[in-house]
Symmetry: D2
Subunit: 404 residues, 4 copies
């Protein structure tokens, strides 16, 4: 990190944090917004610089650099590892490339922010967690991008659980419902290809609710019983893909991942959990929902109303007890004080801004940012156990949790 | 049935339907309201008469008869079977007595309406279904009381599915969430005693969502993988019980049923289903929720907003597509035309009124009312399979469906 | 009232309360259900008997008596006044007949329950209030039927305001939105005829929100500024009318009442209020909405979700403050203990049951039931002031409140 | 505007648009985010440069420039007018300074974006509109910042009304409810000082709903009848103000503006409208709500759920008609295609990004951006008429609309 002495806000001692990003599609755009905006609203111990973006096609990555505001671009992500002005590598590529890039970056002494799911297999995730552990010894840190933890309503929920406001957790019911391929003629994308994506709804969106269930409760999933299903096993090959939207051609190709996953689980504290991840729930656009029932109250969240947390306090007088619709935009709510007055809600991308904030603050204090690669590995084990259970008549499949 | 010639509305040819009811607690009160009110709002082919109610304690049953409006009372339900003025026996007792009463009544030539769950075991349910089949041959009919089918919003949902408005069913997610024993000091009741209740949340409320899932989709559940849990295994013995509410004493007794059940399932049409039944969801008072996602749309219902059905039509122009909040109070909606103008919603007990209407109309046309005892048996098999799976590491447990 | 000694519940000393009803359309059916059901769920000091119903056409009133469960029928309402077995006259006719019937009944020594609005003019209402005052001196009581006061959520709201839970009232915003004549081809009905109905949306539904605003706050409206509008001034004449639903013919007739009314108001405690009543709000079926903001909190209600009251307590910790969605079905909530377990909601007609309960209990204790005719007169004065203001450029029009 | 030939995206012909901003508090931060982010997600014909920010205190404005990302800062806004690299002046100061700055900027040949309300008086607004008209003749444009028009759900609502989807407008009911001074001890701020703010809730938030009512319907308000109220007329003087949040001291000072405003109105198409603006609605944080009922359907919006538009289509089959909860995040929805996949909602500040987009595109095509200063003047006239009516017994006060 290079020192800069020209910053009028935090003074001459604030160092820069050079960032190199790999990948520039949906996640690349979201991460770029995070890097761009975080320092404008939050006090950060390091000054992020959007140094360079890497991608496979020269014209594409050049265009992306200009559009997204990166100073430089490259078609070889390995060049990011040798640049002195890059302190952190931000991995926004499909899951099959995470392990290679992240491990190489960590070994090159670069901090790593890696999109979720951590990898496409437990073996890869284990290698990544091991690399992260080695790197941490020399002050090089790794973080996996479960950004929904940074939605203020989710962060508030975590606080309330941690403070004991809902008591012992008895139930988690978590769903992540989408409908973008509910139409059987929606085209193939890399997300429907097992080689690139690892799995389908399970790893793409199920991973988020698995992480949230563990994060919010502060417990681990100790076993699962699951089912997977692919409703539409052949789809039109995308004639052309531009950015987030693709157009269907006449050729058809196989869908090699799950369209939907449902599973039950046990939490380490004894509670029951049920999970569902699907891309076939017509009308549910991005319905990440999680409800937790404890011995003293309940919490409920739905990303379709993302600035709101519902809280039932069983200690309220029964006559006036009811789920409280907390609009999580008060100055005292997590992350919110840096933004707007009460009632002026945030959007999807703010999670990425907050992710940068938490990451940079951890780096500035030389502590491990969370969620760690070990956390990501634990999620990966849950996903693998679901697949295993689904392949064996839904039989109960314990999760090895020692390695966390 | 006795003919009456003094009815100024439907004329001299309308016969009476003498009803004898067994049990007079929560369900007895609800059924009484059904018998009392149905003929006031609906044209019925038979004129129900609330002839007699049976119960175990003389003073209790006499008080109940007066309060609920039954002409006579008895401490021996068997006397109902020998009365000429009783044409139908309405069974509102705990599940462990259903088989004995219902079979005896059918064999005595009385129609039977039996509360759900049909029985406390598959064996009992099979005997009851067999008895119902035998009785039907001589025009004596049996029906099981899954009244939620008669909520107008549910009935509308059934129509829409049957008309193909949501296409092929891909997902059912059904929950029945309550909180009445979420407090660990809530007292024991017969509903927490396996000998009387058969099971806990599974049979009491899980039975409803199992029935609805099958009824709404027109499909059967072909297998399940489940978990059961008893969070609080000892509770205060109720010092005194009066009507629906009990008071806790100092003695404690064992809870012998499940507090919660979660399970995944497969539908005969290939769809995935997930179920949850719990009495430990603080803040959810009677949240019977069911959502169905099909290839052409979705439906969602929550009993906490019981006059509303949410419908997403995937064929709507995407720009103006969204879940429609249908207030199911239009004259053209099921059951509604007999009641009030649009927007003047119904309540819980109206389901019992509609149950009487459907039952009496079927009897008037000498056809089998639905749901039949065979339907109730199928639900019982699903519940048993859940218990079986839960006892065997959640292993996939197929349901025998031939007997329906 | 005749004494009866055969009641096994409350013993020989409970007297009967003979009821005669005038009118048997929408309101007649609702009131009948109230008389029928109230004694089955509530302990009442008097035993209501549905003695006779009066109507204009012999066949119609005879059919109604049989259907609604009245022992006798008559085409001359005056005969009710001379019957010894009639203790109370229940007036369910259009507003233009209220004064004549109610005053005659009171003078004949019969208690009176009169549908709202009390009358079609302030003069009539004044005469009625005067008659009620005279009758009260000899223990004969009168009540006006603002049944929405008896929705449990509304009754709970009243309790909370009275207990000071929301502090000083600053705002009331009340709307009653319907859409049943939003279609310009919806047929004429007596409700669109000024001679019979007195006014349109203003008196029919606006009266309810005026009453609720005053009842809930415990304050009076001291002045208004208003506008009235008739959007569709000619409609098809109903070819035939049967019960609640009419069919349009080809002939057209004039609409002589307002389709919509909006007005602002001042409360006696200094708060501001805004009101709207319309039959032209497409999609709003019976959206009676009222929100009150006080110095310590807020309350909000919408009849389209009638079992729910929203309560914001400003004294809650800001971090977990939010509108509480109180499901008003707990045993401790008003009226609810007599019905079903928590979460099993009530419907529209239960307000009429509760009205009977409150009325009969007041009569049993020989005290004036509320709302009184004086309360009804005060509402009438507000409605008249709105019409007056609307006719004079919305100029502020004070309400004379001394007579209450 | 200076030409730049180094932009790899749009090529060498894209000119820059130098921006100078006056004021850097709440609105300044929001506008900065708009200028910063717009070019990263939208194709713009001009490349905005954040040249300089002006403020009263040297240290404050310097810190703001660094934090918000402006290249330069100044304590004299007039210097912005003489800089060649400033093409547009963005006015984010309190209302009492708008006229002076905006008129001077326009006369200096700078485009102007001015926050709402346009001015603190009709006279000022008229002068500004006149200046804008003169400037437009030489291709210099002015726009007023009613950013809520740019919320995608609002923009979609405008499209649907314009396409005739709800027919003739019969009702508008618009509310802007906040609670930030509902606590009587909340401190004074410039927004409570008539000299600076012009008015209170009326001009601050009422202006938004007045603009939206006219914008969404495409009609003008032709007259009003109103009331204003100041519930708390003395408040603690803020001891210190930092950014958006202030701390109360012991001294008290007068509140010289309205706390709340309610008024009724008539639209040019004949419809009725009712408005409310208040800062005293506990629990309503930023509840900008607007509902429009037309002859063919209805639309409803609440900023507390800002990514959603509710649409009732009266032409839907009555059996499945209901308000559609449109999640306005589809690619075909206004502004949305540039952002994230469906279901990934936007936040408050995105309105400011879209404002920049619309403004820059209009400038790029040398056409007047909307809303114009004439639109702002029309809103001002409505606000003035409300004040006038409130001062004269709520008497109907027509709005002069010729000058628009």
């Amino acid at each position: 990190m290079q020192h800069t002495d020209d910053d009028p806000v935090t003074g001459p001692e604030r160092a820069t944090l050079g960032v190199g990003m790999v990948g520039y599609a949906f996640m690349g755009a979201a991460h770029s917004q995070g890097w761009r905006v975080a320092p404008r609203f939050f006090d950060l111990p390091l000054d992020p610089r959007m140094v360079a973006v890497a991608g496979r096609t020269a014209s594409g990555v050049r265009e992306a650099a200009a559009r997204l505001g990166w100073q430089d671009s490259t078609t070889d992500w390995r060049t990011l590892l040798t640049r002195d002005d890059v302190d952190l590598v931000d991995v926004c590529t499909p899951g099959n490339t995470h392990a290679e890039i992240a491990i190489a970056a960590l070994e090159a002494g670069k901090h790593v922010l890696c999109e979720k799911p951590l990898a496409n297999s437990v073996a890869e995730a284990e290698a990544m967690a091991a690399a992260a552990k080695r790197a941490a010894a020399s002050g090089v840190h790794a973080m996996v991008g479960f950004t929904y933890r940074r939605v203020p309503a989710i962060a508030l929920a975590r606080q309330l659980v941690a403070e004991g406001r809902i008591g012992t957790v008895r139930h988690v019911r978590a769903q992540y419902l989408q409908d973008w391929i509910a139409d059987a003629d929606a085209p193939l994308s890399w997300r429907l290809d097992k080689a690139q994506a690892g799995s389908g709804a399970l790893g793409d969106i199920g991973a988020h609710v698995v992480d949230l269930a563990q994060h919010l409760t502060g417990e681990l999933i100790t076993g699962v019983s699951g089912m997977l299903e692919t409703f539409v096993d052949e789809r039109p090959v995308a004639a052309a893909s531009s950015g987030l939207h693709a157009t269907a051609g006449t050729e058809r190709g196989p869908v090699t991942v799950d369209d939907a996953a449902i599973f039950t689980a046990r939490l380490s504290g004894g509670g029951l959990a049920s999970f569902e991840a699907t891309r076939f729930a017509w009308g549910r656009k991005n319905a990440l929902r999680i409800e937790i029932n404890g011995s003293l109250g309940s919490l409920a969240f739905d990303f379709e109303d993302m600035n709101v947390l519902h809280f039932y306090d069983a200690r309220d007088d029964a006559r006036v007890a009811g789920f409280r619709r907390i609009i999580v935009t008060e100055p005292g709510h997590p992350y919110v004080g840096a933004w707007w007055p009460a009632g002026h809600g945030l959007g999807y991308e703010h999670g990425f801004v907050h992710q940068v904030v938490d990451l940079v603050r951890a780096l500035g204090e030389n502590r491990a940012p969370e969620p760690t690669f070990a956390d990501g590995l634990q999620v990966q084990r849950v996903l693998a156990a679901v697949e295993d259970s689904a392949a064996h008549s839904s039989t109960w499949t314990p999760i090895q949790t020692g390695g966390r």
